[in-house]
């Protein structure tokens, strides 16, 4: 069965700094997703990664996928306060999503 490990679980960042969230998954998956959740809100889809070497960028966030290493990363560049949220990675297993534990990101001014 597919397992997804995400780290760190909590990340406190200074504004303007860079950091990376890691997502390892245990077996082959067709898709890797990154979601953002603000308190009390829906999970908002950020990226869908389909193939080895895929890289997608949106604003200060960049996601990549290495299917051979079974690793996806979410890189945050020059963090700003608006990025404070919980970030989840999820791998597709059949038709269901298997989630990591989530990373609580707090950006301090």
């Amino acid at each position: 069965e597919l397992k997804v490990e995400q780290n760190p679980l909590f990340l406190s960042m200074q504004e303007g700094k860079n950091y990376t969230i890691y997502c390892n998954y245990s077996t082959t998956s067709d898709r890797l997703y990154w979601y953002r959740q603000d308190p009390g809100k829906s999970l908002e889809s950020l990226f869908v990664l389909l193939s080895n070497g895929a890289v997608k960028q949106e604003g200060r966030l960049m996601a990549s996928l290495d299917t051979k290493a079974r690793l996806s990363t979410l890189h945050i560049t020059a963090a700003v306060h608006d990025l404070s949220a919980t970030y989840f990675c999820a791998a597709l297993y059949g038709n269901k999503l298997v989630f990591g534990a989530g990373t609580i990101l707090r950006v301090k001014s």
């Binding site: 999970l43 889809s45 059949g94």
Partner: protein, 115 residues
């Protein structure tokens, strides 16, 4: 386009009572999923409907949980009788039937507290 909606947003019930959660998917989405996040744990899959049929209910914890999707539109998830360990946030998601990215769109969740 309206997103996935869930009702209620928050429910507090006593152990032994019954609660029914409702999910309205995005119009035209034949796939509907239920997930749950128990405090401090990962979001876990419960079950998957394709239209009105249960495609995969491997994540349902036990027979106190009953999900329905009559008519292939909205879905309900009933917990009867509720236990303390059922507390958590229940998410619903939907996606179109056709392939593509298989991107699931999530609702805001229902926070269930069993006391």
């Amino acid at each position: 386009e309206a997103g996935v909606t869930q009702f209620p947003s928050h429910s507090v019930i006593e152990k032994g009572q019954t609660v029914t959660l409702r999910c309205d998917p995005i119009s035209g989405h034949d796939n509907l999923y239920w997930y749950r996040r128990v405090m401090g744990k990962e979001i876990k899959f419960l079950l998957h409907f394709v239209k009105e049929s249960k495609q995969d209910e491997s994540g349902m914890p036990n027979n106190r949980f009953l999900a329905e999707r009559t008519g292939g539109t909205y879905s309900t998830l009933k917990v009867q009788p509720a236990e303390l360990e059922d507390s958590g946030v229940y998410f619903c998601a939907s996606s179109p039937l056709a392939g593509g990215l298989n991107e699931q769109y999530f609702g805001p969740g229902t926070r269930l507290t069993v006391t």
